[in-house]
């Protein structure tokens, strides 16, 4: 007994140590990159956000002044409000479309399913800059195709780039870009559902709608949560699309149209890097809070 226990005792620690070193070695590249490319810049940005630099007078430590300014900054709050509105309208539409496409493809009833799948996914492969330039041209009030058609029909041209339409026009571009991407995630999740479940359901007399509602949708919940989470982050960071459309509609999209655009213009137009760091932090915080709230409700529903 005594010998076995000591043997066991002497045996276990070295093995654990081995695992430990191997583990450390495995995660070391990640940790190094994480520290270098994520935590260090984040820490530095946090440090910067505590200062204020002026063209005349240089840099001074101001503590949390930038944060109190930012929380009362109407331009920032308006930008955040605008992306929140964008999120509330665009994301449900996009995810519902993605869900419909995924279910349709998974049903096996579509002809040319591969071509359709690729067709819906292709816009995601188009860089968002190019996609926006393309849509910007399509939206054109004089020589864009929609305007031309209306002109030929003697109808007033639609004002896609006017103040009241702009958010919708942006939502359309983003939806066009990301429906395919979300569809692929949902479709992949559907493919993991074992076929036996469908057979069992069919034996119990469930039709296609019933199977979709009672088997496919519940199984999709984690994937939907994931796509929703990506959409939260994507919406609140909205940048490329408005910054490019700003060129064709400078009277509608100003430099604080979205919170991220505001951070950019504060940094590179006003050259207030410190305040830009603050704005970025607050935007990051908003994203964390919204994401966390979604995860919490999603989890609660799943456990309930």
């Amino acid at each position: 007994m005594a010998t076995t226990t000591t043997a066991a005792r002497t045996k276990v620690p070295p093995r654990r140590r081995q695992v430990g070193t191997a583990g450390v070695l495995f995660i070391a590249p990640f940790m190094a990159l994480f520290l270098l490319l994520f935590l260090a810049p984040l820490g530095y940005a946090a440090y910067l956000s505590l200062f204020q630099e002026k063209l005349i007078g240089g840099s001074t430590f101001v503590g949390l002044d930038n944060y109190t300014t930012a929380l009362k900054d109407p331009q920032l709050l308006k930008g955040i409000g605008r992306v929140a509105l964008f999120f509330v309208i665009q994301v449900p539409v996009m995810l519902l479309l993605a869900l419909c496409f995924a279910l349709a493809l998974d049903s096996g009833l579509l002809r040319l399913a591969r071509v359709i799948r690729l067709g819906i996914f292709v816009p995601y492969a188009v860089p968002s800059v190019i996609a926006t330039l393309m849509w910007g041209y399509l939206y054109g009030p004089d020589f864009g195709p929609f305007a031309q058609i209306s002109h030929d029909l003697h109808l007033p041209a639609p004002h896609f780039l006017s103040g009241s339409w702009m958010l919708g026009s942006l939502a359309n571009i983003v939806t066009w870009e990301f429906v395919g991407y979300n569809m692929i995630i949902l479709y992949a999740a559907l493919r993991t559902i074992p076929g036996e479940l469908y057979e069992a359901a069919a034996m119990d007399g469930a039709g296609a709608w019933r199977i979709a509602w009672s088997i496919k949708l519940p199984a999709l919940r984690p994937a939907l949560t994931l796509t929703l989470l990506f959409s939260v982050i994507g919406s609140f960071q909205l940048f490329n699309e408005p910054s490019l459309l700003m060129k064709v509609a400078p009277d509608v999209i100003d430099s604080s149209y979205t919170a991220n655009l505001y951070a950019y213009s504060v940094a590179f137009i006003s050259q207030q890097t410190n305040y830009a760091a603050t704005v970025s932090f607050i935007l990051g915080l908003v994203i964390v809070i919204v994401s966390y709230a979604f995860l919490l409700t999603a989890n609660r529903r799943r456990t309930a």
């Binding site: 810049p41 940005a45 910067l48 063209l55 910007g136 490329n240 910054s243 490019l244 006003s270 830009a276």
Partner: protein, 462 residues
Amino acid sequence: MSGTFSNSPSSLSRRGFLAATGAVSLGAALTACGGDSGSTSGSSSKPVGQADIDKAMKTPTQLTFWTWVPNIDKEVALFEKKYPAVKVKVVNAGQGTPQYTKLRTALKANSGAPDMVQIEFQAIPTFTITDSLLDLRPYGASALKSTFVDWTWGQVSGSKGEVWAIPQDTGPMGMLYRKDIFDRHGIQVPTTWDEFAAAARKLHKADPDVYLTNLAANQVAAWHGLLWQAGAKPYVTSGKSDITVSVDDAVSQKLGQYWGTLAKDGVIGVEPDFTDSWYAALNKGKYATWLTGAWGPAFLSGSAKATSGKWRAAPLPQWDAAKPSSGNWGGSTTAVIRSTKNPIQAAVFAQFLNSDPTSAKMFATEQFFFPATKTLLGEASFLGDAPAFYGGQKVNQVFADISAQVDPAFQWPPFLDRVATDWTETVGKSLADKTDTVRALGSWQSRITTFAKSQGFTVKGG
């Protein structure tokens, strides 16, 4: 033709800025920008002796030059031929604002900045305020004063006589117009702004699809050119931290009233320029004139090919026909970054590139730049050029005459990017939305004032 395009300051920079925004990661950029430059090193203004210059030019040196001028290698090769020991690496770091953004980042990081840099006239003060440019006087730049058109020298000179850059090309403003459209509607080429306004109303009434001109609601550079012509002094800096801002004074209000009314009455276009739609509009004859810099003729002949032979050039309409004047839109210079380890070679390069007769001429013939040197502006072969696009008119002659009428005293603010954005969001917006432009001038004024104060400036004027 994209070469001449690079001379249109704000349009160009905005396009570049937009292209770059996709690539710039904000977080990374922020952290890179954070360092305190504190570069106090630099040259004294004591002249450098000819012996030192000769010695330096024979020392093997590698210089880096940031520029967006296409095919500038040809001009650089001339320099390298004359000074075989000095090698120049040409880097395209973006056009206009994207390049300035990269440069500011490099300057703050104290690493990666070039020795020489392409810089537009209006951007010079935004770099002298941060002490980033080298005063070129000790390297013999003052001797070049008479080489260049007077007003360009005013643009590159500091308040204490410093020479911050060497002019490369310019953009005195004139009017390109569609002779065929004018003829069809019996419109005389307007010589005063009153005639111009009358023509705008007449033309649009005769053909609702055609406008006399387009004043782009995002083109602050054109607005500045028109302010310049009208004799405005919107920004006057004295000392380092004193600035007088008067973008809302009587002259500006006259301009605001004039253009605001034309825009509100819908007899001129206000669409953003250098967009697909705008190019299409020029090709399809939606606009009968383009008020533009001297780089405009070459640019237009490349981008509105469909209208060849129909265009002509004329001076801008005048406020006071007895005292013809013009402003400038575009043009750029070569400056030397203060942190360079080889100030002599870099300064000699900047001077050679733009003042050597062969090199300067090459800019006019290869890149179709509008010259900044007096010699070229008086040269028969340049003035005699009669492109078919303008029906054989001697367009260069028209703009060379205009160049002599540009006021040398116009100044730029040390935070131009912010001023430009604020213009688009106030005055430009009022033009596009057909609201009160004169009132928008007030908002522009107060936005600039607030910003300048927050940056530690003492602001006067109004």
